[in-house]
């Protein structure tokens, strides 16, 4: 069928109210020069064009969905990765170690009531003159030197506080030697120098007139 005839046919169809063909034919009227001359060819062209458009739309939609999903996952992982604030834990870790180490220095020792922990530490590190009666739990009333008395008293304090609350800690001294090794080295629940360290408290005790300081360290490890 020639182009001219096709046009005439289309116009007739429109006039006779052949509605189902109107849409297609109007399109054809406008595109007679661009389409193939037979009607089957026109249909093939239209179908492939539409299917391409559909593919592009589907691709775009998929792309948007993937983008939204990635954004959503990033948001969730960011939210989940944020550490929750715990003021109680922060406060405890922040104050406990330092407060403990500073508080014990002035405490009277049970076996030597006239002396404090600080007095006995200084004596143990420098003079070795003070002797106390072992009257505490399991004590037989015999004489014990300042080093043993102070070690025992600190051990009791730690036992009644940090060990009962199952806190991971390491309490150790520096520059007090007793029988060839550091006097105090108490560790609870495997808190070592390689563990994740929390708050650290240090008390410095001067051994004046000797030019040396003794350090008492309390490290609280994170669980």
């Amino acid at each position: 069928m020639s182009n001219e005839n096709q046009c005439m046919q289309n116009i007739q169809n429109i006039k006779s109210g052949n509605n189902h063909k109107n849409h297609m034919n109007l399109w054809l009227l406008n595109n007679t020069n661009n389409t193939q001359n037979n009607s089957n060819g026109y249909r093939i062209f239209r179908k492939s064009n539409k299917s391409k458009r559909g593919q592009i739309e589907a691709f775009g939609l998929t792309f948007i969905v993937i983008l939204i999903s990635i954004g959503f996952f990033i948001f969730i992982s960011f939210k989940a990765g944020q550490p929750k604030e715990n003021p109680q834990k922060e406060f405890t870790n922040d104050k406990l170690a330092n407060d403990f180490v500073l508080s014990i220095l002035d405490v009277s020792v049970q076996d030597c009531e006239q002396y404090t922990v600080k007095d006995l530490i200084i004596d143990c590190a420098r003079d070795h003159r003070i002797y106390c009666k072992d009257t505490g739990s399991g004590g037989d009333g015999s004489d014990i030197d300042s080093c043993i008395a102070v070690n025992k008293s600190i051990d009791t304090m730690l036992n009644r506080t940090f060990m009962t609350t199952r806190t991971k800690f390491r309490f150790y001294s520096e520059n007090i030697y007793y029988e060839g090794k550091e006097l105090i080295n108490i560790t609870n629940l495997n808190c070592t120098s390689t563990s994740v360290q929390g708050q650290r408290g240090v008390a410095v005790i001067s051994l004046y007139p000797a030019s040396l300081n003794v350090y008492l360290n309390m490290n609280i490890c994170y669980t």
């Binding site: 189902h20 508080s103 014990i104 405490v107 009277s108 049970q110 506080t161």
Partner: protein, 173 residues
């Protein structure tokens, strides 16, 4: 006739597509709302817990700084030190059953909490724990506990104890 059928079919397919899309969107929306609701609920509960913890910390910080409890030597106060006899006096006046004025005065500061002073070392004869304030006003189920190491000084016997201030906050779940 053929074209009419094909249009009908196409319309049906499009209607099905639209319905599916709407259904999926609604399902996604419902999942989103449920998820968001859960997230915001957990956020609210986190903020509530944090504010409760902060109020307990505030009380725990306040207690060792009270002039009514602190140690003084030659007019200078000692850091983290409580006077044993001041603790006994405060315990007596706050827990006086005939006069609730002191309790009500401290209630403004300590709110719904329990404050206990515990003597840890050396051993003392009698009670090691003294509860100076306890305001369990309702049947609260949740408690937050903070303990702070302090020195407790007995100026009469010239002894210093190691002790802890234990602050427990009562809160409704």
């Amino acid at each position: 006739m053929m074209t009419q059928n094909s249009y009908k079919k196409r319309g049906q397919v499009q209607l099905g597509e639209t319905t599916a899309v709407i259904a999926i969107v609604i399902i996604l929306l419902v999942i989103g709302i449920v998820f968001w609701n859960k997230v915001s609920n957990s956020n609210v509960s986190d903020i509530r817990t944090q504010s409760q913890e902060l109020s307990v910390i505030e009380i725990a910080n306040m207690v060792p700084e009270l002039t009514e409890l602190k140690c003084y030597e030659s007019g200078v106060n000692k850091v983290k030190c409580l006077d044993w006899y001041k603790i006994l006096a405060m315990n007596k006046s706050i827990n006086d059953k005939n006069n609730k004025d002191v309790f009500l005065f401290y209630n403004d500061y300590f709110k719904n909490s329990k404050i206990t002073i515990s003597v840890v070392y050396p051993d003392v004869l009698g009670n090691n724990n003294i509860t100076i304030y306890d305001a369990r006003l309702n049947n609260s189920t949740k408690t937050l506990l903070i303990s702070i190491p302090v020195n407790i000084r007995d100026y009469v016997n010239k002894e210093t104890f190691y002790g802890t201030i234990i602050v427990e906050g009562y809160y409704n779940e």
